[in-house]
């Protein structure tokens, strides 16, 4: 379990699942919101990761 990407995906999965179940009552709405949130987490993490790539730490 040392892959950063795997842990990021796992984290995004849990957070989007819980938020979607809190925010929506119907299964269809939960899947739609959860999927959108999950995709948003992954996409923003990848974009921010590449944007930070040129900056040495």
């Amino acid at each position: 379990m040392h892959s950063h990407l795997f842990l990021l995906v796992l984290f995004a999965l849990f957070v989007s699942l819980v938020f979607a179940v809190i925010a929506r009552d119907d299964a269809r709405g939960q899947i739609k919101l959860g999927g959108l949130m999950f995709a948003g987490f992954i996409a923003s993490a990848l974009v921010l990761g590449w944007l930070m790539y040129p900056f040495p730490l």
């Binding site: 842990l7 984290f11 849990f14 179940v21």
Partner: protein, 130 residues
């Protein structure tokens, strides 16, 4: 205006609901008959906390001398009984040398904070706001 016995009973039940919802993730929703939601929280939140422990995250102590540590401890505390069980079993010492240490902390802290949100949601459902 004095509170009636019915009001006091209702507020007592609400406090009990919130305590149950904090102590066992999803218990509030199960109590209110939201079975599917309750089961999702009951599985997902303790699992997230357990993954945080497996990643060698730290259950932070309530150290008021270090405000950030105290805030992290407060967030960890949000997971309820799982916090005490993990601490009693000796988990959550944290290993700062582990490559997954910060990931573990993120899982532990966010699991606690999500459970607080779940508790607030159960409170809203009980009041008929949702």
């Amino acid at each position: 205006m004095r509170a009636t016995a019915a009001d006091e009973t209702q507020s007592g039940a609400l406090v009990l609901l919130c305590v149950a919802s904090w102590a066992i993730p999803g218990a509030g929703h199960l109590w209110l008959g939201r079975r599917n939601k309750g089961l999702v929280f009951l599985v997902a939140l303790p699992l997230m906390f357990a993954i945080g422990l497996a990643l060698r995250g730290r259950i932070f102590p309530f150290d008021l001398a270090d405000p950030l540590v105290a805030l992290a401890a407060l967030a960890d505390f949000g997971i309820g009984l799982t916090y005490f069980v993990a601490a009693a079993l000796g988990y959550g010492a944290g290993d700062v040398r582990a490559v997954t240490y910060e990931y573990g902390n993120a899982f532990l802290i966010v699991a606690g904070l999500l459970n607080v949100l779940v508790m607030i949601d159960a409170y809203d459902v009980a009041l008929g706001r949702k």
